[in-house]
C-alpha cells in the first residue's frame, strides 16, 4: 500500500546535501497533551542516540497545564532531527509527521514539507474530534492532503487489539496508541525497541499489565510496518549515524546543562551551591533539577519572590557560599536593584536568565533574545557586569562554569543568558573528564593585619572575600558608596569617580583574560560575516557551512561574551564587507555594536515570532548580501 516513492528533498530546504542517500531526517510527533507525546519523543531520542545518531530535539507543548482534550491549543508536539554530525538544529521542515488527532494535524501540518510522510490515526478523525479541531470535512478523505504521502491507519483499533489481551481495560489499551506509533517509526528507521521496552517495564513495575500492553502496542506498530511492507522513505532509511569523537555520551537539554554546570562549579570551587529562585517558566526546571541534589551538597531555596531569590543568593555569597539565582524575563526585571547591590558590594553572584518572549507575560514558553538590553544596561547608576550567553545545551554547562569562575575571581555578579529554545532542546553531549576540569580558585587566605574590605588585588581588581565567622576580618558592606580601600561610607566626589572607574576597569581586566574573538566557521575574510549569540548558533553555523561549501566568502562568529566583548573584534570586522547580526529581537546587539564600532557596516537579521531561526531563513538572508 505504501509503494510510491517519496519525493526526495533536503530536510533543511534551501541548502544542499552532500548526496541523495545522506542527510538528516526530521520527525515530528503531535497529539493531544494527554497523549504522551513528550514521552514518545524522549524514547525516540534515546533510541536514536543509542543507534549512534547525532540529533537535536525540541518539544513544543502548550502553556496551558490541562487544556481541553482534542482542542488545537491542547496540542503537544515533539520534533527531532537525526542524522550525521551536521545536525545542529531540530530541523526547519518535517519529513515525517505523526498526528494522533485532528487538532494535531491542523496545528502541525504547516511544518511538513511538500511530499512528506504523514501518519495519522484514522480512528481519531471522527465527527467529534474533527469538530473540536474546527474541520468542516475530514481532511483524510477530502483530498486536501494530496500534496503529502498520507498513511491514514486505524491506530486506535490496532492498538486495542494488541493491548487488550494483556489484561488491561479498554481505556488503558487505547492510551497505548502513542507506543504503537512509535513502534512504526522505529521500524521505519531500523531502530531498536529494546531500550523502550525496558523503560516500560521499569516505569510500570507496579502495573506489569500496563507495561505489557504498551510493549505489545510498540511491537504491533513495528510489525505493521514490516508486514504491510511499508516502504520507508529511501532517504530516511539511509540516514547515516554520525561519527562523533570517541567517548561516553548522554542526552543533554539546556536545563540539564545549567543544572550540571552549577553542580560542577560547586565541585570545582569547593563552594557550597546556593540556588535561590522563584518558580517561573521556563527557568523553573533548573530549580527542579537542583532540588533533587539536596543530599549531594546542593542547597536550593524557593524564595517568596524574585527579589528575595536574588537577595538571598547575595546573602549566601556574603556568607561565603556560591550564590546563584535563576529566572526568566519578568523576574529579571525584578532583580535589577539587587544586581546593583551585588555590583556595589562586589560580591560573586550568578544570575541565569532563561529568556522568553516579552514584554510582560508575553509568551512564556516561546523563545526570544530580547533581554539583552536589560542584561547589559538594566541597572540604575553605572553598574557594569559581565554578561555571557549559552549557545546550546552543551555550551550551557561550559558557560555557567566560566560565569562562576569569573564571579569568584573578580568578585562580581555575572549574568548568564539562556533562552526557551536552548532550555528545552536536547543534543548528544560527550561527558567531560571530571578529573581534568580546571579548579576555581577561592582565596580565603586573608591576612587580618592591614585588612581592608575594598583593598584590591592589583591584577584582577577583586576585593578580598572575607566572610562572616573569619577571625579579625569583621567589616561592613553596603549599597551606599564606600571609600576605596576602607569601605567606609563616603560621599566624597573624587572617591565616587574613582570607584565608578574601578568598577568599569574590572571589566577591562576580565576582557584582557578572555580568549580573543574567532571566526569559527566559513572563510576568515570576505563579503559577509554572520555574527550571532546564544541559541542561534546551530542555524547560523549550518547555513554558513553550506554557503562556504558552495564557495561563498562568508564566515560565522558566535559571541559567548557580550560584556565585556572579546578583544579582536574590530580587526575581524575589518576583514568583511558587511557584518550581519542575527538575533531573535529587533536588533539589540547590532545597535550596541554600531555604537562601539561606528566604522563597521552592520546589518540586522532579526525575528521576533517566538520561534527560532530556520536554516533556510538565514541562508536566504545571507545569499541576499552575497549576491
Amino acid at each position: 500500500m505504501l509503494d510510491q516513492p517519496i519525493a526526495l528533498e533536503s530536510s533543511d530546504s534551501g541548502h544542499s546535501e552532500s548526496g541523495p542517500s545522506q542527510g538528516p531526517a526530521v520527525v515530528r510527533f503531535a497529539g493531544d497533551s494527554g497523549d504522551g507525546i513528550q514521552t514518545l519523543g524522549s524514547e525516540f531520542t534515546k533510541s536514536s542516540a543509542l543507534s549512534g545518531h547525532g540529533f537535536m530535539t525540541f518539544p513544543d507543548f502548550p502553556a496551558e497545564i490541562r487544556a481541553p482534550a482534542g482542542t488545537t491549543f491542547g496540542v503537544s508536539a515533539f520534533q527531532i532531527q537525526i542524522g550525521g554530525d551536521r545536525v545542529k538544529t531540530h530541523g526547519d521542515t518535517v519529513d515525517v509527521l505523526v498526528a494522533l488527532n485532528p487538532a494535531a494535524l491542523k496545528t502541525n501540518l504547516a511544518a511538513l514539507r511538500p511530499g512528506g510522510l504523514l501518519i495519522a490515526d484514522r480512528d481519531a478523525f471522527a465527527k467529534r474530534g474533527l469538530e473540536k479541531a474546527g474541520y468542516a470535512a475530514n481532511p483524510l478523505e477530502d483530498g486536501s492532503l494530496d500534496g503529502y504521502r498520507l498513511e491514514a491507519i486505524e491506530i486506535s483499533r490496532l492498538t486495542r487489539e494488541a493491548a487488550l489481551p494483556q489484561g488491561v481495560t479498554k481505556k488503558e489499551a487505547e492510551t497505548a496508541r502513542n507506543f504503537w506509533a512509535l513502534g512504526l517509526v522505529y521500524w521505519m528507521f531500523s531502530q531498536d525497541r529494546a531500550p523502550t521496552a525496558a523503560w516500560l517495564t521499569s516505569k510500570f513495575a507496579k502495573r506489569p499489565e500496563i507495561a505489557a500492553a504498551n510493549t505489545a502496542a510498540l511491537d504491533a506498530g513495528h510489525t505493521y510496518g514490516d508486514v504491510t511492507d511499508m516502504a520507508p522513505p529511501p532517504r530516511l532509511r539511509a540516514v547515516t549515524p554520525s561519527s562523533p569523537r570517541p567517548g561516553t555520551y548522554r542526552t543533554l537539554t539546556g536545563i540539564d546543562g545549567m543544572v550540571l554546570g552549577l553542580a560542577a562549579a560547586s565541585a570545582l570551587s569547593g563552594l557550597r551551591l546556593h540556588y535561590c529562585s522563584y518558580p517561573i517558566t521556563p527557568a523553573s526546571a533548573i530549580l527542579h533539577g537542583l532540588a533533587k541534589l539536596g543530599g549531594e551538597g546542593v542547597a536550593t531555596f524557593q524564595a517568596e519572590d524574585e527579589i528575595a531569590a536574588a537577595t538571598a543568593a547575595i546573602g549566601a555569597s556574603f556568607a561565603g557560599g556560591l550564590g546563584v539565582t535563576g529566572t526568566s524575563g519578568p523576574g529579571m526585571a525584578l532583580k535589577a536593584e539587587a544586581l546593583g547591590l551585588a555590583t556595589a558590594a562586589e560580591l560573586p553572584l550568578i544570575v541565569i536568565d532563561v529568556q522568553r518572549a516579552g514584554p510582560s507575560t508575553g509568551m512564556p514558553t516561546k523563545v526570544e533574545q530580547a533581554d539583552l538590553n536589560l542584561a547589559l544596561h538594566g541597572r540604575h547608576g553605572e553598574a557594569p557586569l559581565p554578561v555571557f550567553a549559552a549557545a546550546g545545551p552543551g555550551d550551557s554547562f561550559d558557560t555557567v562554569i566560566e560565569a562562576a569562575r569569573t564571579a569568584v575571581t573578580y568578585m562580581t555578579p555575572v549574568i548568564v543568558l539562556s533562552d526557551a529554545y536552548t532550555a528545552n532542546a536536547a543534543e548528544p553531549w560527550r561527558l567531560p573528564d571530571v578529573a581534568t576540569l580546571a579548579g576555581i580558585a577561592v582565596d580565603r587566605d586573608i591576612d587580618a593585619d592591614g585588612f581592608h574590605p575594598f583593598r584590591r588585588d592589583p591584577e584582577s581588581l577583586a576585593r578580598p572575600w572575607a566572610v562572616p565567622g573569619m577571625t579579625g576580618l569583621a567589616h561592613r558592606l553596603g549599597g551606599i558608596e564606600r571609600s576605596s580601600g576602607s569601605g567606609h561610607i563616603s560621599y566624597d566626589p573624587d572617591n565616587h569617580q574613582e570607584m565608578t572607574d574601578l568598577r568599569a576597569a574590572k571589566l577591562d581586566r576580565i576582557r584582557a583574560a578572555l580568549p580573543p574573538a574567532k571566526v569559527s566557521t566559513g572563510t576568515d575574510a570576505g563579503r559577509v560575516l554572520a555574527l550571532g549569540w546564544g541559541s542561534t548558533q546551530g542555524a547560523l553555523k549550518t547555513a554558513v557551512e553550506d554557503l562556504a561549501a558552495e564557495g561563498h566568502a562568508v564566515g560565522h562568529l558566535h559571541l559567548r561574551h557580550l560584556s565585556p566583548l572579546p578583544r579582536g573584534l574590530a580587526e575581524i570586522f575589518a576583514l568583511y564587507d558587511e557584518v550581519v547580526v542575527a538575533e531573535l529581537n529587533s536588533g539589540q546587539l547590532r545597535t550596541h555594536l554600531q555604537g562601539l564600532f561606528p566604522q563597521v557596516s552592520f546589518r540586522g537579521l532579526t525575528k521576533v515570532t517566538g520561534q527560532p531561526f530556520t536554516v533556510a531563513e538565514i541562508d536566504a538572508a545571507l545569499r541576499e548580501d552575497l549576491s
Partner: protein, 354 residues
Amino acid sequence: MNVMNPDLAAPATDAGPQLTARDFTTDQEVRWCPGCGDYAILKAVRGVLAEAGRRPDDVVFISGIGCAARFPYYLASYGFHTIHGRAPAVATGVKMANPDLDVWVVGGDGDFLSIGGNHLMHALRRNVDLNLIMPNNAVYGLTKGQYSPASATGMRSPSSPGGSVEAPVNAALLALGAGARFIARSADTLQDHLPGVLKAAQAHRGASFVEILQNCVVFNDGAFEAVRDKGLTADRTLRLEHGQPMIFGKDRDKGIAIDWQTGTARVVPVGDGGPVYDVTVHDQTNLALATILARMDAPDLPLALGVLYHAPADDFTAQRADAPGRVIDRATLAGLLAAGKTWTVGEAAAGTQT
C-alpha cells in the same frame, strides 16, 4: 580602618564574660538626629551582644534602608547594609550559607511592614533563626516625614496633608498571623526592659520578632509618650512575665482578665494583697492569649510589653532536607554527569544499530 577592635587581636571565646559593649562599638560616628530613640536601642543591643558572649566575628547585622538600617555601621561585627525591605531575604541567605552565625536583622516600620512586608512574613513563617528587631517610629524618617503603614489614622504629613485615611498595621498581630514563634514588644527608652527582651530574642532559636516603639524626635515626636514616659508607662502598659498574673499600674492595683468566650481582655481591680483569682496568668505559649494581648491598646487597655508569644519549634535549618555544610565533590559530580542513559562511542565506529 574598617577593623575596629585592636583589643580583640586575641579573639574572644564564646565563654565571653570578658566582652563589653565597647567590643561591639565601631569608630564610626553615629549619625542619627540628636534625641533619636535609635541611640537607646543601639546601646541596649551592644549590651546584649556583650552579655550573650558570641565573638563579634560570629555576629552579623543585616539591614535594609531607613534610619534604623544604619545599625550595621555602628556595630563592630560583620554587617551588610542592603536595599530597602530586603534584609530578611538577605539574612535568610546568610543563614543558609552559615547556620552557626548569630544573625540580626534591623529594619524600621517602613522597611519591615511596607516595602519588605513580604520578606518579613516569609522569614517568620519559615522560622529562620534570625533576630528581627523593628524600631517602630510610625513614620518615614529618612525621606522626611511621610506617614508609614504604622502611622495612626489621621496623621498629617507631607504626603497626607489632609490626614492619613489608612488604618495602621498591628505589627505583633501581623507576626502572629505569619506564624512567628517569638514575638515581643518594648520601647527605646525602657532600659530596664528592652535589654531583657532582646536577650530572650537572641536566645530563641528560630525567628524572633521584636517591635521596639521608638521616638522620632523630628517627624513624629511624642507618638509613644504614654509608653515611654516614666510617669505614664506604669498605668498605660502591661509588662508581661511568663507564669505571672498580668498586673500593672503604678500601684500594681490593676489586672488583666481574659474572657475566653469572647476572646477579649478587660481591666479588673486587684485587691490590696488579696487573691488575684480573676487576673489571668500570662502563658507565653498560648497563641490565643498572644492574639488578645497583641491587640490591647489605649484608651481602654494597656499596651502589652515583653514576650507576647514564645513557642519554639524546629528552625529553618533543622527543617531543611538538604545536607547542611556538604559540598559536591568531583566523584559525585562524575556520577551526576553519567546518571541516566549513556552510550559509548568507540574509536572505530558509532554504536550498534539493530
